[in-house]
């Protein structure tokens, strides 16, 4: 029965994640942990499996790869995977309460990000700008214009990537929801390019944590498989719906839900 519920949860979170432009892990982990009463580490491990699945499918979408800045993504991935490995080391030492705090903080941040970016418009950088080693140019299908951007504040990008890697392993989320707003707001990367690049790279980020959980026998294989299959199906539905709706009201609602989830985990941590 848990397999069925997990598959349905995976489908729901995959749909929501695709609709809202964030990973489904932020919804799946609380569902597995709070509703199905799976231990937090096992819930995070299953979520990382779904993050890999989502990343692989999302990044294979036609046209999306042209938005990906592979050079930038891979340079940042150095720090994200190092962060992920740091998370693996910390996971040994963190108590359940510390994990709850980490997850609560992550949920609060995601909630704030969802509220902040809901009405933001991507500014179109000057296509004549010199892009440098880590910038890029791409054709924006919405404006039918050539977009060029140059990376700024690399230390910020490195630091955020490292933190995102730690959080990814500990909380079972992709980390993109932390990286994408930072790259857009502070580092000069247009939102579409940041999101596409992140979607490709979160799979690599999640692998670090997933490998560790797998080696420790903390991935409940039937539930992970069910969740992954559910997410794959649900995300396709989410993309189809998302192409037709703006989902602005849904983003606010989900931001509220995540804020409540954050409060629940803080309460559990300090209870």
């Amino acid at each position: 029965m848990s397999v069925v519920w997990t598959m349905l949860a995976g489908a729901g979170t995959g749909c929501l994640g695709a609709l809202l432009g964030i990973g489904g892990g932020v919804f799946l982990v609380p569902f597995l942990n709070l509703v199905l009463h799976l231990p937090f580490r096992e819930s995070a491990a299953i979520s990382l499996v779904t993050v890999i699945a989502t990343s692989s499918v999302t990044s294979a979408s036609p046209g999306r790869l042209s938005l990906v800045n592979l050079r930038l993504g891979m340079v940042l991935e150095i720090f994200t995977t190092l962060g992920g490995f740091s998370g693996v080391l910390l996971a040994h030492r963190f108590s359940d309460h510390a994990l709850y705090i980490t997850f609560g903080v992550a949920m609060a941040l995601v909630s704030a990000v969802m509220i902040r970016v809901r009405d933001s418009r991507t500014s179109i950088p000057d296509p004549r700008v010199e892009v440098g080693a880590l910038g890029a140019r791409y054709h924006d299908p919405d404006t039918n214009a050539l977009v060029a951007y140059r990376m700024r504040r690399m230390p910020v990008a490195f630091g955020v990537s490292y933190l995102a890697g730690i959080v990814s392993t500990l909380a079972g989320i992709g980390g993109g929801v932390l990286k994408v707003p930072a790259l857009n707001a502070w580092c000069g990367v247009p939102m579409r390019a940041a999101a596409a690049t992140s979607a490709l790279m979160i799979g690599a980020t999640a692998v670090v944590g997933a490998l560790a959980y797998f080696a420790r026998g903390q991935i409940v294989a039937p539930l992970a498989a069910a969740a992954a299959l559910g997410v794959l199906a649900g995300s396709r539905v989410g993309f189809m719906i998302g192409a037709r709706t703006r989902a602005r009201g849904l983003k606010l609602l989900m931001a509220g839900v995540l804020a409540i989830v954050a409060i629940i985990y803080f309460t559990r941590a300090f209870a």
């Binding site: 397999v3 592979l70 891979m74 992920g84 799979g203 690599a204 560790a212 498989a225 299959l229």
Partner: protein, 102 residues
């Protein structure tokens, strides 16, 4: 990156991702069916599925590395090699921990 190079790279990456996802999905469906039927083989099949899934991003990084070497993009080459080293290092760390700890 030139347009032709990007298109070729896109095609490589897309093929890797799609083949991997299809193989993983098939393995998971098989494994779940065996698990629901109570077969002891389900564990191995599901674990194979998990390994296949985790191999997708790793293979993608490897493919990017090979392509970067071919195009003499040394920044991308070294970046991918470092990422692969961290991934391998994580696996080695966990396996070593498993062996040495009681």
């Amino acid at each position: 990156m030139k347009d032709l190079d990007l298109t070729r790279l896109e095609a490589h990456i897309r093929r890797v991702l799609l083949v991997g996802v299809a193989a993983t999905g098939l393995t998971f469906v098989t494994g779940l069916a065996l698990w629901l039927a109570g077969s002891p083989r389900s564990t191995i099949v599901l674990d194979v599925g998990l390994v296949l899934l985790m191999a997708i991003p790793v293979t993608r990084v490897i493919a990017s590395c090979v392509d970067a070497v071919r195009r003499r993009d040394w920044l991308l080459t070294w970046s991918t090699l470092i990422v692969l080293t961290v991934m391998a290092g994580t696996l080695v760390y966990e396996l070593t921990r498993k062996i040495t700890e009681p």
